[in-house]
């Protein structure tokens, strides 16, 4: 649905994004992740046909964003950063304008506007001036205008910014419910949001894509091993030795002991589950198991490692 190929954008001497390539399948929700100023908004502006790339190409729904811009724009819903809206219009008249400009037929316009207001939870605000709305409501009006006209592709730049926790949950489940019929690309710097909402992740840092895939793929790539945290009451030296000798165990790391039970982090290959053997070992030796759980590798750790790794590389480059 979205194919981006070697996209580069320069603002004068500053390169905002460089050689960005990715693709998004129909019906998928993809999260664009990156620190501030990484080039997320630039990429989205290009995809939404607001500005051209310096080089490279991008196709949305099979149309080129530069040469077939009008066709692309008929098929997208775009929410720019900070949801810019006309402060001097009421919510209802603004959405009516958007529906009309997107070509929603006169007969169904009222119903469509009412529907998006309902979906984005602000039907009670329809007669208020947009300029008088709180940030959270404005953000939701922005999302509603993107949904109008039922576009195939949604490009959402930080859709949950400025919302309170309850609204965030509502909007996330709204976006989640779009999966399947709509292709969504959203940017965020809230990491758990990506895990909760998105099928795939693209991590971008300083204008370049540094990692992409599904969350579990990324974790698999970054952290090829699985880790277990165990706490066993017994002679710590013996326990450590026994754990090391378990087949499949790559390394054992000692943690501080608590309540007379020694703690360990046991590292194994990702596809090897040693929990059953470990429990049997402990029982057969007459030790007492106090704790056993997998230590999850989160997207957050992937992100930090990828972004920090980049930074370390450039520091090294600059030093040499």
């Amino acid at each position: 649905m979205i194919q981006v190929n070697q996209l580069t954008k320069r603002y004068g001497p500053v390169t905002a994004i460089q050689d960005v390539s990715f693709s998004v399948e129909k019906g998928q929700i993809v999260g664009f992740l990156g620190p501030n100023g990484a080039g997320k908004s630039t990429t989205m502006k290009i995809l939404a046909c607001f500005m051209p790339a310096s080089s490279g190409s991008a196709r949305v729904a099979g149309y080129d964003v530069f040469s077939q811009s009008l066709e692309v724009r008929r098929r997208i819903g775009y929410l720019p950063e900070n949801a810019p809206l006309y402060a001097d219009l009421t919510v209802a008249s603004y959405l009516d304008f958007v529906a009309e400009i997107k070509g929603v037929s006169r007969g169904s316009r009222k119903a469509r506007v009412a529907e998006v207001m309902e979906r984005c939870f602000f039907a009670d605000m329809q007669h208020r001036m947009i300029g008088k709305l709180s940030k959270g409501y404005r953000q939701r009006v922005g999302l509603a205008q993107a949904l109008l006209g039922d576009p195939e592709v949604l490009i959402l730049d930080e859709p949950t910014i400025g919302l309170d926790p309850k609204q965030i949950t509502e909007i996330r489940s709204l976006i989640r419910s779009l999966a399947g019929q709509h292709t969504v690309i959203l940017s965020t710097h809230i990491l758990p949001e990506v895990s909760m909402v998105c099928d795939g992740v693209i991590i971008i840092n300083r204008g370049r894509i540094v990692a992409q895939g599904t969350e579990s793929e990324l974790i698999g790539q970054m952290f090829p091993t699985a880790r277990l945290q165990v706490r066993v009451a017994g002679d710590s030296e013996d326990v450590e030795r026994a754990l090391r000798s378990l087949p499949g165990v790559l390394s054992v790391e000692r943690l501080q002991s608590r309540d007379g039970a020694a703690g360990f982090i046991v590292e194994t290959p990702r596809d090897r589950d040693v929990r059953d053997e470990l429990v049997q070992l402990v029982l057969s030796r007459g030790w007492r198991l106090r704790e056993l759980h997998q230590v999850g590798m989160s997207l957050e750790e992937v992100f930090i490692r990828v972004v920090a790794g980049e930074e370390a590389d450039t520091v090294a480059e600059e030093a040499s």
Binding site: K9, Y11, K45, A48, C49, F50, M51, P52, S54, S69, L70, R73, R74, I76, Y78, P80, N82, P84, L85, Y86, A87, D88, L89, S93, F97, V98, E100, I101, K102, G103, Q145
Partner: protein, 255 residues
């Protein structure tokens, strides 16, 4: 053409904010003041000519009331039109709404048409309100409607040109004050440039005279429709709108 939604939105913005009311109130106040002064002067003149018939040979209501009124109104418009056009693109750029507007499935030309026609419609409304003055005159005495209609045609063309220049300047900046003042400066220069003709000679003189934006109004207010004036306004309007379109389109390839 998808200009209609943009047109309706701009009209809502004009009338949903104080802009429309402030501009029309003060425009009517000032042009009404001019009308009453000119009319009072005319009544004094006709009184005098009644006493001394040898002076009042060519006293004529069209020539002595409507013509100076049209001239005065065109100067007042010079100040008021920039207020109507300055926000059209500058505000959208400043607030970022242009990013949404230009990513909707409409052509740049349709966006421009919607905005230009909205400003034009508001201007026509403003002019229609001033029809009160010739109407009043017609109530008291017999008027020739022909020259009054051509006078209004002239004002329409003049205003249309002012609006086109204003919208072009607005598309160049994201600061409304710069847009407003810039438009005013351009219009003012196009007005005063004609004054230079007095001290110039030959081709330069003709050129300066021809460039003056308000001089071309004079024929219309006397009841003359000259193709030279029509061509002047049509080209000026066309050029300004064409440049606006270019300035919008440049966004698409320049970024």
């Amino acid at each position: 053409m998808r200009w209609l939604p943009v047109f309706k939105k701009e009209m809502r913005l004009y009338f949903g904010s104080p802009v429309a009311y402030v501009v029309s109130t003060f425009f009517l106040l000032i042009s009404g003041w001019f009308f009453s002064q000119i009319f009072l002067y005319y009544s004094e003149l006709s009184m005098r000519s009644f006493m001394q018939p040898q002076f009042g040979q060519n006293l004529n209501i069209t020539e002595n009331v409507m013509r100076p009124l049209f001239t005065n109104m065109s100067v007042v418009l010079l100040f008021f039109i920039p207020m109507l056009t300055m926000r059209l693109f500058a505000e959208e750029k400043k607030s970022g709404t242009i990013e949404l507007l230009l990513t909707y499935p409409v052509r740049d030309g349709e966006v421009l048409a919607g905005k230009y026609l909205a400003a034009g419609a508001f201007y026509v409304l403003l002019l229609a309100l001033t029809l009160l003055y010739p109407g009043l005159v017609g109530y008291f005495t017999r008027v020739e409607w022909g020259p009054i209609l051509t006078g209004y045609l002239g004002l329409l063309l003049l205003g249309g040109t002012f609006l086109a220049i204003g919208i072009f300047v607005s598309s160049l900046t994201e600061n409304q004050i710069v847009a407003g003042f810039g438009t005013f400066a351009v219009l003012l220069s196009l007005w005063v440039i004609g004054w230079g003709a007095e001290f110039a000679a030959g081709t330069l003189r003709t050129l300066l005279q021809y460039l003056s934006i308000t001089d071309h109004m004079d024929g219309f207010s006397r009841g003359v429709i000259d193709t030279k004036d029509l061509v002047y306004y049509a080209t000026a309007m066309g050029l300004a709108l064409f440049l606006t379109l270019r300035s919008l389109e440049s966004k698409r390839w320049r970024g």
